[in-house]
Structure formats: structure tokens, C-alpha cells
């Protein structure tokens, strides 16, 4: 098998070559798109601070709220980047999160063990994710198709799980959940998972192979890359992210219904794209896209809520402004992609 390890060309990416040749510097035309998601987050943060200060918002609580509202999305989206980097598309992330959270909730109710809940969430999510990957591999179908099927199946599973309680909800003891629904717990889980993902995506063969598959699957296959093994690894990592997201979801919202986590799937996609993730995957994939995008979404939502809530048309205007801002950031971030075949 070929060694896919990328060796940095002398002088590439602004570094000096061993022979001391002049480094190639990125032009502003390249830098602006590359930095657009980060600049978007900075602009939004400035707006958030200005609006919050002028409106007398409780900034301390507001920052906690930002973290609370973005951490699950960031975790799930970061895991999902392993799927999207290959040019695949998983539409069942929200449903997977719901089912994993429900199983985790039922596991806690049966055992009253936090660890059992965590394990149940992760195993369910990873298993669900691997079923999608395996179906795609066995039947040689696009992953998107199998995840569409999984979306329906998981919806039915969620209904069945709720019905096991004989009521409308799966409830976990809220005093127990409150005990662990804290910033240190959330940040610990998020930092650990993000560190793992950054390591795997940036410093191991897996990340490079995924980008290669996303950029040109034919070349990847001819190079000897095992598409199935790579896909299964990607889905397993994404499943781990979903499992951890589900675990935090149970702690945050211990009352679960069939409509819980309904908007997670869409929010994950928006967060990734907002963070500069090319939806076609490939070499421009950045593992930090989910973090930037998730935070940007939360800051934008919070700012718009503060700014427009008292207006009678506030919610409508807020959604339009969010959409415009989203389009602007993504347009700038992807503008460089349209002019070249491959990144340099």
C-alpha cells in the first residue's frame, strides 16, 4: 500500500525550505476566504458584546448560555466532519442523537448509573452509525441513501422506545441530571473529543485519506485506499460524537419526547458550513470548522434574540438576518474554491 503521508514541500505554506529559499506567501485573495469563518465569528462576537452591553444583558449568564447551546452541536458536527470530509452526507444525525439519548435515559432509569448511561449512549450511537456505513458498503449505495433510510427507521425506534414507558416521555431524574449538567462536565467532554478528532484528522493517515477520498475518490481507490474501511472508521468516530452529544443532551434535557433533538441534524449541517466546511468534502476540509460554525451560530442567535425580541416582527426579522449573515460568510469562505481545481 502506498504511503499517503503528506510531506511538506520545501517552501510551501509560507515556511522556509531547508535550503533557505524564500517561502511562498499566501496572497490576500487566498487569505480572505480562508479566514472568513474566523473573521465572521470575530465580527459576531464584537456585535454580541456591543449589543449585550447596550441592552444591559447579563453577560456572564449569556456566555454560559452560548456554551450550553453550542456544545452539543460542536461535538456532533466535529465527529461528522469525518463523514463529510469524504464527500458523504449523513442526514440521520439528529435521529441518531435522539435514539441514543433515549436508550441512555432508559439505561439510567434501569441502573441509576451515570457510566451505564454514557456507555449506552455511545454504543447505541456507534452501532447506529455503523449500520448506515455497513449498509452502504454491502449494497454499494451512496451513504446519503442509507442515512435517509436510517432516518425513517430511527424515527420509528424513537416512538417505540417512548411507548415502552406507557406515556409520552422518557424522563430521567432531573435532580440527577442537574448535578452533571455543568460547564466543567460539558467542556471536559468537548475538549477531550475535539482533541481526539484533531489528532486523528490532522496527524494520522485517516484524516489524509478521507480528504483524498473527498477530493478524488477514483484516485484514492487507485492509490490502494480501502474505501469501506475508511468509511467504517469515519462513521465510528461520528457515532462516538453522536453518543457524547446524546449523553450531554440527556443531562441538559432529561425529559425526552419523539420531537426532542429534532433540529440537531440541520444545525449540525449549518454549523459545519458556517465554519467553512466545503459540503463536498475533500482537501479543504478543516476539523475546526464545526467549532467555529457552532460558536458563530450560537453568538448570532443570542445577539439576534437580544436585538429583536421586543419587536413584534422580531423573530421573523431575526431569521432573515441570520440567513443573510450565513450566506455572506459562506460565500466569502467558498469563493476561492470556485476558481481552482485543487488547493495549493
Amino acid at each position: 500500500m502506498h504511503d499517503l503521508t503528506q510531506r511538506t514541500r520545501p517552501g510551501a505554506n509560507g515556511t522556509s525550505g531547508p535550503n533557505g529559499t524564500a517561502a511562498r506567501r499566501r496572497s490576500p485573495r487566498e487569505l480572505v476566504p480562508a479566514l472568513a469563518p474566523l473573521l465572521g465569528l470575530v465580527v459576531l462576537t464584537v456585535a454580541f458584546v456591543v449589543v449585550g452591553t447596550v441592552s444591559g444583558v447579563n453577560m456572564s449568564y449569556s456566555v454560559q448560555t452560548l456554551i450550553n447551546q453550542s456544545v452539543v452541536i460542536v461535538i456532533i458536527a466535529t465527529g461528522a466532519i469525518f463523514i463529510f470530509a469524504m464527500g458523504s452526507f449523513d442526514i440521520s444525525l439528529g435521529a441518531s442523537t435522539l435514539v441514543a439519548a433515549m436508550v441512555g435515559g432508559l439505561a439510567y432509569n434501569a441502573t441509576e448509573s451515570l457510566v451505564a448511561m454514557l456507555v449506552a449512549c455511545i454504543l447505541t450511537a456507534v452501532a447506529t452509525s455503523l449500520v448506515s456505513a455497513s449498509l452502504a458498503a454491502v449494497f454499494n449505495l451512496p451513504v446519503f441513501v442509507t442515512t435517509v433510510a436510517m432516518l425513517s427507521v430511527l424515527g420509528a425506534v424513537a416512538v417505540a422506545l417512548v411507548q415502552t414507558t406507557g406515556g409520552a416521555q422518557i424522563k430521567v431524574d432531573s435532580s440527577f441530571a442537574r448535578q452533571y449538567d455543568t460547564l466543567p462536565v460539558k467542556l471536559s467532554v468537548a475538549v477531550a473529543f475535539l482533541a481526539l478528532c484533531v489528532f486523528l484528522f490532522t496527524y494520522t493517515r485517516l484524516g489524509r485519506v478521507e480528504k483524498l477520498i473527498g477530493g478524488n475518490p477514483v484516485t484514492a481507490r487507485l492509490t490502494g485506499v480501502s474505501m469501506k474501511k475508511t468509511a467504517i472508521a469515519a462513521f465510528a468516530i461520528a457515532g462516538l460524537g453522536v453518543g457524547l452529544g446524546a449523553f450531554l443532551t440527556v443531562l441538559r434535557t432529561p425529559t425526552m419526547t419523539t420531537s426532542s433533538a429534532a433540529d440537531i441534524g440541520m444545525n449540525v449541517l449549518v454549523a459545519m458550513v458556517f465554519g467553512g466546511m466545503p459540503i463536498s468534502g475533500g482537501p479543504r476540509t478543516r476539523i475546526y470548522a464545526a467549532l467555529l460554525g457552532g460558536l458563530s451560530m450560537a453568538v448570532l442567535n443570542q445577539t439576534m434574540t437580544t436585538l429583536l425580541a421586543t419587536s413584534s416582527a422580531g423573530n421573523g426579522i431575526s431569521q432573515v438576518v441570520r440567513a443573510l449573515f450565513f450566506l455572506a460568510v459562506v460565500w466569502v469562505a467558498t469563493s476561492g474554491h470556485r476558481s481552482k481545481l485543487l488547493p495549493r
Binding site: 490576500p28 473573521l39 465572521g40 464584537v46 449568564y61 448560555t65 432529561p254 420531537s259 436585538l307 425580541a309
Partner: protein, 399 residues
């Protein structure tokens, strides 16, 4: 025209910074208003589009806001417990002084969050279960709940079915609305309807004849199964549920229910909105539990709706008064310094004349619960006993 990246980035930055400028402008406008700052009350809504919800909002943002120093801030439509929590977090961060909730996915969490943040919290158009009330009744910032209890919901369904039985109708269809979504009030209303029919000796649902067993079966199934209805006297010709207007199968089932030619469609909610067009010129009557709106009034005049148990728009006035009083430092507390738990019922109209009388008596300009009635409680001039009697005075009591 070609838009350069730098132009777009500048536009993005300008858009972001314009938030700040807008906020500065907004601040100036508020300051120019003069007088004391209004009480900032935040309203959590699970339904932002129905005529009933719009009527409630109109009452608060038009009538109450004009007559009391209060500013209402509405949430987006929240569909689940997590959305409720996010909205609550935004309310708390934005310094709301009180929260009135119309959303019920996870009330315990809402109450706990408000208590932790030191913000007054009240439940409108509903009540807590007995267990929940016991858990939260002593909370300092829990104002209480005023609205139909689940017992009232059951009674509303029961009374409606009983009315048509007494009219001599024998062929029924049921519209369960949000039963599969486990919306408690719809389940209790539907169970009430079946319990009323099951009073006839040969009639049962899933072998059950009493309310509790019927309720349990619906809870277990998450739906109503026509095949489980047994009777020598009545016929359950069809059953329909939810609001999937764009779904062909859902539309087909709706048509099938109408084609089964029931005398009456008993609806647990939004009956006319779902079946109104389909039953025109069929002779089928709709019994509905909804709200006193112009649309339902017109339907009753056209004979499409024969029975309406509904909330009236200003029924949310008393909970506002109690919440406002709490913010102003003179909370209305029940015996033992506990939170309010007061029931409100439905008004029932079985003729256009009755309907019009209710509708005309409760307008935004001249509501049943007007400034004069609410002020005495909002200002702390009256205590709990008077308030309880005041709320009960407009409560519908089944005959």
C-alpha cells in the same frame, strides 16, 4: 455587477456592526419614552400561529401592554424541551423579570430554571399535575398556574360526546389531533369522549368501559384503534389524527373518515381547521374543543360546527395580574404561602347565538378581564380568596 470578496467581507462586517448601532438606537428610543421602566415579561409559546394563540398574543401585546406598564417579549415557537430550555436561557440572559409559559414539554425544568435565576414564573392555560404541584408549590418565584386541569380536559371531551348522544346521534368519528404526539390534553379529551360512549352497557373500547382504563389503553397505543371499539348501539366509523396536510396518506384517511358518513366528528382540537372544508354539504357536524374565534363562529353559523367548547381570549388575564403583582412585590399566594393552582374551564356554545354572545363579550377592545378587573389584583389591593373567586366566576361548569 461583480461582487469582490473584500466587498462581501466588508458587507458582512457592516452587517454585524450594524447590530450594535441598532442596539444603540433602540436604547435611545426607550430612554426617550420617559417615565419608569416597564416590567419586562417574557412569554414562552409552543404555538405561535393558531387563531387561539394569536388572540392571546393580541390581548397581551395590545390591550394589556396599553393599560399596564409592561413590555411583553415573545419566544419563537418552541417545539420540545430543549427548545424551551434555550428560550428560557435567552429570557434569563436578557433580564426578563417574569416568565409566563404556554409551553408544556418540560414544565419542571422551566420552573427550576426560573427559581434558580430568581425570576417569577407562571403557567398560563394549563395546570401542573398533583405531583408536580407538590414539588414546586413552595418555590418563592413560582407564581402558579391558572387554566384547564387534565380533569377539566377529560370533562370537556366527555361533555361533548354526551351532548351528541343526547341529541340522538349514533355514528361517530373521532379526530384525536395530537394524541400520537402524546399531547396530554388531547389524550384526556379523547378518552373522555370514549368514556361517555362507554356508559352505554354494550359499549367498550379495548374491553374497557371506565375512563382510567380507556386512558391507559390510549397511552399504551399512542393512538385510537377503530377495531377496538365495540358497541351494539354506537358505531365508530373512523379515526384521524395529527396535522400532516401535505401527506397524501393523511389526506386519504381524512377523506375516508368523511366518506364513512358519521353523524358527528368529535374533535379533540382544531376540528374545524382540519375537517371544515371536507364536511361542507355532507350533513356531518363537527364537535370541537378549540377557541372563540371568528372562523369557528362562521362555521357554527353555517352548521358545520354544532358544539364548541372553547377558551376565551382574555382568559389569560388573571395569570398576568398575579404575575405582575408578584414582580411588584405583593404576590398572591394560596393557603400556607403556596403557589396558585386555580382551574379555568371552557365556555360551551351549541348555537350561533350563544357563540356570538361569548365572542362579543370578549373583544380586544373590551375584554372580559379588563383593566378595572385586573388592576385590583395587579396592584395588590386584594388577597387570595377574592382572586380565587374572581377566577372561578368565569369558569364553565358542566351541567
Amino acid at each position: 455587477m461583480k461582487i469582490s470578496r473584500s466587498t462581501a467581507l466588508a458587507a458582512t462586517a457592516a452587517l454585524g456592526l450594524s447590530f450594535g448601532l441598532t442596539a444603540c438606537g433602540g436604547g435611545s428610543d426607550s430612554a426617550a419614552g420617559g417615565g419608569s421602566d416597564p416590567v419586562k415579561m417574557c412569554v414562552l409559546v409552543a404555538d405561535a400561529t393558531s387563531s387561539e394563540a394569536l388572540g392571546f398574543k393580541d390581548y397581551y401585546t395590545t390591550y394589556i401592554q396599553e393599560n399596564f406598564p409592561v413590555e411583553f417579549v415573545y419566544s419563537e415557537e418552541v417545539g420540545d424541551a430543549d427548545a424551551e430550555k434555550r428560550a428560557m436561557e435567552s429570557f434569563i440572559a436578557n433580564n426578563c423579570e417574569a416568565i409566563i409559559s404556554f409551553a408544556s414539554a418540560d414544565r419542571p425544568t422551566q420552573i427550576q430554571m426560573a427559581e434558580d435565576a430568581g425570576i417569577y414564573y407562571a403557567v398560563a392555560t394549563g395546570t401542573l399535575s398533583d405531583d408536580q404541584y407538590e414539588e414546586f408549590k413552595d418555590y418563592q418565584y413560582y407564581v402558579g398556574a391558572i387554566g384547564p386541569s387534565l380533569g377539566v380536559e377529560y370533562q370537556a371531551g366527555y361533555d361533548m360526546a354526551k351532548y351528541f348522544v343526547e341529541q340522538g346521534d349514533t355514528r361517530f368519528a373521532i379526530y384525536g389531533a395530537g394524541v400520537p404526539y402524546y399531547i396530554d390534553m388531547h389524550i384526556y379529551r379523547t378518552a373522555g369522549m370514549l368514556a361517555a360512549l362507554a356508559e352505554e352497557p354494550s359499549t367498550s373500547y379495548g374491553g374497557a368501559t371506565d375512563f382510567g382504563a380507556i386512558l391507559g389503553k390510549i397511552m399504551q397505543d399512542g393512538t385510537v384503534k377503530v377495531a377496538d371499539f365495540q358497541s351494539d348501539v354506537y358505531e365508530l366509523t373512523g379515526y384521524h389524527e395529527v396535522w400532516s396536510f401535505d401527506d397524501a396518506a393523511w389526506q386519504a384517511n381524512l377523506a375516508a373518515v368523511v366518506a364513512s358518513k358519521p353523524d358527528v366528528i368529535l374533535a379533540a382540537g382544531t376540528g374545524f381547521a382540519v375537517f371544515g372544508a371536507a364536511v361542507a354539504d355532507t350533513g356531518i357536524t363537527i364537535g370541537d374543543i378549540d377557541a372563540y374565534t371568528d372562523e369557528n363562529g362562521q362555521a357554527m353559523k353555517e352548521g358545520l360546527v354544532g358544539y364548541l367548547a372553547g377558551k376565551f381570549t382574555s382568559s389569560i388575564g388573571p395569570i398576568f395580574a398575579a404575575t405582575y403583582a408578584a414582580v411588584e412585590g405583593h404576590p398572591i399566594r394560596a393557603e400556607g404561602d403556596t403557589a396558585l393552582a386555580l382551574e379555568q374551564g371552557y365556555w360551551v356554545a351549541t348555537s350561533p347565538e350563544q357563540f356570538d354572545a361569548f365572542l362579543a363579550g370578549d373583544t380586544i377592545e373590551n375584554p372580559f378581564y379588563g383593566k378595572a378587573e385586573l388592576e385590583q389584583f395587579a396592584n395588590g389591593d386584594q388577597g387570595y380568596d377574592t382572586f380565587e373567586a374572581f377566577v372561578a366566576a368565569y369558569t364553565y361548569v358542566a351541567d
